[in-house]
Symmetry: C2
Amino acid sequence: MRDVAAEAGVSFKTVSRVVNGESGVSTALVERVEAAVTNLGYRPDQRARLLRRSSSVPTTIGFVLVDVANDFFSSLLRGIEEVAMTRECLVLAGSTDGSAERERQLVDALVERRVAGLVVVPSGPPNPTLVSEIKRGTPIVFVDTEPELDDVDLVRSDHYAGAVDATRHLLHHGHTEIAYFGDDLTFFSARRRLDGFRQTLAEAGLPFTADRVITGSHSTDDWTEIVAHHFTGPSPPTAIFTAQNYVTLGAVRALHRLGLRSDVAHVGFDDVDLGDAVTPGVSVVPQDPRDLGRRAARQLFKRLDGDDGPGVHQVIESTVIERGSGEIRPAEII
Amino acid sequence: MRDVAAEAGVSFKTVSRVVNGESGVSTALVERVEAAVTNLGYRPDQRARLLRRSSSVPTTIGFVLVDVANDFFSSLLRGIEEVAMTRECLVLAGSTDGSAERERQLVDALVERRVAGLVVVPSGPPNPTLVSEIKRGTPIVFVDTEPELDDVDLVRSDHYAGAVDATRHLLHHGHTEIAYFGDDLTFFSARRRLDGFRQTLAEAGLPFTADRVITGSHSTDDWTEIVAHHFTGPSPPTAIFTAQNYVTLGAVRALHRLGLRSDVAHVGFDDVDLGDAVTPGVSVVPQDPRDLGRRAARQLFKRLDGDDGPGVHQVIESTVIERGSGEIRPAEII
DNA sequence: CTGAAAGCGCTTACAG
DNA sequence: CTGAAAGCGCTTACAG
């Protein structure tokens, strides 16, 4: 800014005015300053600017997610970005891999950069820095969880209802031997999906067998092996519910390799690419992560715009899309 | 910081020392300050800190990409993040959707936030702000392009060689009627892939027919329709080369709906989820975007660590993975 | 071992 | 219409 002022032969205050498009500068000076700006490739330092500024227009929001390489989260991010872009705001995102320690570091790093607000997909119980930031008044929107905190903003799919629908779907098609493969139970969403599965079995008067439930945080490749292993053991199930996208991908692969895709009923939570191009198609309870992201960001900006009403909970329902795999009957394999 | 100093009954300089873990503070004071810090939930303002600091350890790097919802870019981002994390550095990323205007805005926004360095997947010719930033000494690593600039760092797949391999693969299986579906030619990668296709046809003495080449920036859904439309027209090709992941997904869907997957040879550029679980499997020239991201980030940090050697070009080779779809012969359909 | 001063690059009042 | 002063939250020299 100093250099620009020197180049244009004005005080640096005048440069500030021009850069901020303030009125009350003679057009002659404006031109000279603008010429100097382009000449020197000057870009105002937003950090310094925000340091003094009181009426802080948000310039950066933070997003704490589990794994940006996972389609679900990258679409969520895109939805947030889409809304943030209309406000000329950038999104500073980071993956936790479900580690509470990493989540803590990430939230700290984001707070230290004074992001205007946060969207958080927690990996476990509420993190201390997050709680103290809420108290301090930083707007935070939670996604895909039900934090043990009062009066917070929240956007999530109805994991429980979706899992109930998926399980009923399999029951209605005559299955009683249903295995559950799902994400690590440190995640709220994973717990709720398993709850839905368990409750639905109970209502149907079916036993809940521990060795028919496999959970953990794994890659698609790992899930491929886990599912394949399950089906090469004794008394394999006639149906499976895969409660997350990586699990679904792994299961489809495993069953495909074993030549069992037409013999085992299968419903997944989350849609997957080419889910409608395999044979049979993969029946799923889809989510619309991009929409979830948009909703979360819109709610966050409402808060940044001054809305201080009570916490808003947005819970999105979803039901099974029939594509073939979920409609296979056990009769067909006996 | 003021409040912490008051709470601990010391000068704010002492707080600064404790927060930065500097030696030469009595343990009594350290304890008092640390207590005040946790009490008040104090987090130092990194922006203010960096303003004065000279020996700037990088805390944030920027990443300009095309679309974070696309698997290729989100994996790239994850690779960058993975390396950045080891340096306690955050990644500020944004999608351009291939718009030069949006790219300009994004680069400006990143520069204004004084990111330590940039990884950029350009959507077209070099952008002015980027060029002036390079001159100013900001380290920049380009991905997936060949910028018209001297002495830059670059990481990319060998788009040309990959496309040649894919096209030869189809030629070797007896095809002469090959259609090309690919991304918009504003992208360097798209142009190189088309070049590879065209050259290989020419070497084989085959004509290059304009209506057998369809390019553009589209969603998977759009590509599904475009490819389906192509195959319902007169004299459809016996083979297709889909030069990007969304195109490949759309083509697999379209052919699946038309019941033509076993009748049309198909090779794609980029791997896709479930590409090995459809029937036949999708033959592809894969890329490893996460690895590209890691390489780009490593090179960027080398520069940030002071390496000022000449620009490094890393070009990664890849060849066809045979899964079935690429090995279909035209004889089989006549 | 601790603190008062000056400065990072800007903006916000306040003068001329 | 333009500028000199004070301050944002911190760090970097320099004193005590």
